[in-house]
């Protein structure tokens, strides 16, 4: 069974292909079962491979399917590997992916393009699994690009809406900028390491193939690619707009999987990042700045999905903080817990939107606590988890990161992380209070009653809630003994042992600090939105500039538009006018005209008169004879 692990990406791939070709002719029931079944099968295979790894001292699995590129001395092959790190990612991707597929069968039940949706969703699973299972950086990049493509396709799923189409393009183009850096990084690697296998790349700094300057350069270039894919500063601008896509897409792609690909990449190539202090510092600081920056924007957003989007950007920042300080396992742990509670939050938000018949503005919500008996509790669990309330999963994973930062002496990073935690709790409970408490403000279309979602949607929610609550137990802090960190120890072979060693008392203090900040955020939200609901309005009145700045997302989009987009479009327009039209079209039309002229010219010879032809004969004879005589 474990030997079949290489089928894990292929099963959804084949399903996607079949759906793309024949989807229109299949019944919705069939499509739902096929798409979800394919992912489930992948999950089973993943579990099997994972079990194999779990067996005593089993080595990682690997298999080369075929040699793909042979060019000079450079060889790239399509080969998959399955070690502990891949196992974690694959389990998350297939597991959460499966739940989201099931959820989608109900959420998208009335959509016109059912087959297209599931085809793209399966296709995304294929590419994501290729990404995490690739043992060759070129193949990983194929997966990297592929998920970007599927993201574009799914964000712009309702492409007849101009906003959705534009959001899709924005996502793809911004990603592309990151990918350009990634490719340059790959090229440097190929040139110096001579091989594209990830193992060789990880070993390169130690073996001396990559000098320290190069290591830093390559690591930073790859990380720029990660900022695009994982929506960090400065390339995060596409993620909030990506909320134009269907909510399950936001849950899967823009919360649990694709956006975490950057984190996975950094962890996978920890050989490079660990070898360069500069690069790791950059990673950590970008993560920290992003975490705080995005959190501030989430404080004032009114669209429920946008809040979650900025929250995702912020949380991924935390993961990069973890990677940046060398605690790769902590970063991965937060990735896993975040996958659970963020997808839970998105799906639950989808449930709310579905119940309200499409309303996404929280100012029009309220009092849904009684109406949505399943959605509300699971939403609450998710919010508690992300806020870092003790004993839920987010508490442990966030704590692992912040502790590592502190232990490494990065006190500023720790401070930023703590500030972010306060804000996280605040905006999440602001969301909860605005949506579920207070008076019902929703004006619904007539005939549409607020109802709980169907089972296909609520069951995955519950499952995710359970995981969000309990997953923390996998990575208990050292306080409880080293053996309690099951997660960290599992990944030790790939990511190296946990670096920090703190006194128990220090650690306890840190845990306390984290708890206090979470509760502080929660308390503030309670104050602002339950106790004295007038406070937010008064604050906005007192500090209008700040409020507008936050609401306008620091006007980053506008700056980008003016500084980058418009000049590019202008330049492209100029080139079009002066080069494309005049030179290229001119050349083409010109050569056609020339051919015509030549034809007309030659036409003179065709006079129809015998004597002219005879003259031609004569000339030919003279020339021929002359040639012979010479």
């Amino acid at each position: 069974m474990a030997g079949l692990f290489w089928l894990i990406p292929l099963v959804p791939g084949v399903s996607a292909f079949a759906l793309l070709l024949f989807g229109r002719r299949l019944s919705r029931r069939w499509i739902a079962w096929q798409a979800s079944g394919a992912v489930f099968l992948s999950f089973v295979l993943t579990a099997g491979a994972f079990a194999h790894l779990g067996a005593a001292g089993a080595a990682g699995l690997s298999r080369t399917l075929l040699t793909w590129i042979v060019s000079g001395m450079f060889r790239a092959s399509i080969s998959f590997t399955f070690d502990e790190l891949t196992a974690v990612m694959a389990l998350v991707v297939t597991g959460v992916g499966f739940l989201i597929h099931v959820y989608s069968t109900a959420y998208m039940a009335e959509d016109r393009s059912y087959s297209r949706y599931f085809a793209f969703l399966n296709l995304f699973m294929f590419f994501m699994l290729v990404l995490v299972m690739a043992s060759d950086i070129v193949l990983m990049f194929v997966g990297w690009e592929g998920v970007g493509l599927c993201s574009y396709l799914l964000i712009g799923f309702w492409f007849e809406r101009p906003a959705a189409a534009k959001a899709g393009m924005k996502a793809f183009i911004v990603n592309r900028i990151g990918d350009a850096a990634f490719i340059i990084g790959i090229l440097f690697l190929l040139a110096n390491v001579g091989s594209s296998s990830l193992a060789a790349i990880n070993a390169a700094p130690a073996s001396g193939l990559l000098g320290p300057g190069l290591v830093t350069l390559v690591a930073i270039l790859l990380f720029v690619g990660a900022t695009g894919k994982s929506a960090q500063v400065p390339l995060y601008v596409w993620l909030p707009d990506a909320m134009e896509g269907p909510t399950p897409v936001s849950a899967l792609i823009h919360a649990a999987t694709m956006v975490t690909a950057g984190v996975y990449m950094v962890c996978r190539l920890n050989g490079l990042f660990a070898a360069s202090v500069t690069a790791s510092t950059v990673v950590a600081w970008v993560g920290a700045i992003t975490a705080v920056f995005a959190a501030t924007m989430a404080l004032v957003q009114n669209d429920i999905k946008r809040v979650l989007a900025y929250s995702t950007i912020s949380q991924i920042g935390y993961m990069f903080i973890g990677c940046g300080v060398g605690a790769y396992a902590a970063g991965m742990f937060h990735l896993v817990t975040h996958a659970f509670f963020k997808s839970l939050l998105f799906l639950a938000a989808g449930s709310v939107i579905h119940a309200l018949g499409g309303i996404q503005d929280m100012r029009q919500m309220g009092g849904l606590r009684k109406r949505l008996p399943v959605t509300f509790p699971v939403f609450l669990v998710g919010a508690l988890a992300i806020s870092g309330i003790p004993f839920l999963s987010g508490f442990f994973s966030k704590d692992a990161i912040l502790t590592s930062a502190f232990a490494g002496g990065h006190y500023v990073l720790y401070g930023l992380g703590l500030a972010g935690a306060v804000m996280t709790a605040f905006y999440m409970f602001r969301l909860i209070y605005m949506t579920f408490y207070g008076e019902e403000k929703a004006t619904l279309t007539p005939g549409h009653a607020v109802h709980e979602s169907p089972r296909a949607m609520t069951v995955p929610l519950v499952i995710l809630a359970v995981f969000s609550a309990l997953a923390g137990l996998l990575g208990l802090p050292v306080l409880f003994g080293r053996r309690a960190d099951v997660f960290g120890r599992f990944l030790e072979g790939v990511l190296g042992p946990a670096a920090h060693h703190l006194a128990h008392s220090t650690e306890a203090a840190l845990i306390l600090a984290a708890t206090i900040s979470a509760l502080a955020g929660l308390g503030l939200a309670f104050l602002f939105y339950r106790r004295s609901p007038g406070i937010p309005a008064r604050l906005a009145h007192r500090f209008p500039g700040t409020y507008r700045l936050l609401l306008g997302k620091y006007y980053v989009d506008e700056v980008y538009d003016a500084a980058v987009v418009r000049p590019l479009l202008g330049g492209a327009g100029w080139v079009y006018e002066h080069f494309d039209l005049k030179v290229i079209d001119g050349t083409l039309n010109g050569s056609a005209a020339a051919a015509g002229l030549a034809g007309k010219g030659l036409n003179i010879l065709q006079s129809g008169l015998v004597r002219d032809y005879a003259l031609a004969f004569l000339m030919g004879a003279i020339l021929f004879l002359g040639f012979l005589l010479l």
Binding site: N603, S607, G608, L609, V610, R611, A614, L615, L618
Partner: protein, 100 residues
């Protein structure tokens, strides 16, 4: 003894006279006659060289040329007759249907 070169000069002269005749005349019939002149010039050349090089093959060729010229004249004249029947004119300049 007549130098063989003399015959060749005569042959060349007759040949180009035939060419000039072709360009000067404007009706099909006389142009056709000019072609016959050119053929004869060729025959003369063949015979001259046959004698000069001592081979009898030149005479054979002449025989065949004359035969084929006869056949050609027959067919050519038949065609000219047809053209005359159709167009009522054998002026070459009038026959320019192939003008492209």
């Amino acid at each position: 003894m007549i130098p063989p070169a003399a015959f060749l000069v005569l042959a060349a002269l007759l040949f180009i006279l035939g060419i000039v005749a072709f360009f000067v005349k404007k009706d099909l019939l006389t142009q056709f006659m000019a072609v016959e002149v050119m053929l004869n010039a060729g025959n003369l050349a063949f015979l001259a060289l046959a004698k000069a090089l001592g081979k009898a093959d030149g005479q054979m060729v002449v025989l065949f040329v004359i035969t084929v010229a006869a056949a050609e004249a027959v067919i050519g004249l038949a065609i000219i007759v047809l053209i005359f029947r159709q167009r009522k004119s054998i002026r070459t300049d009038d026959l320019k249907d192939l003008k492209g």
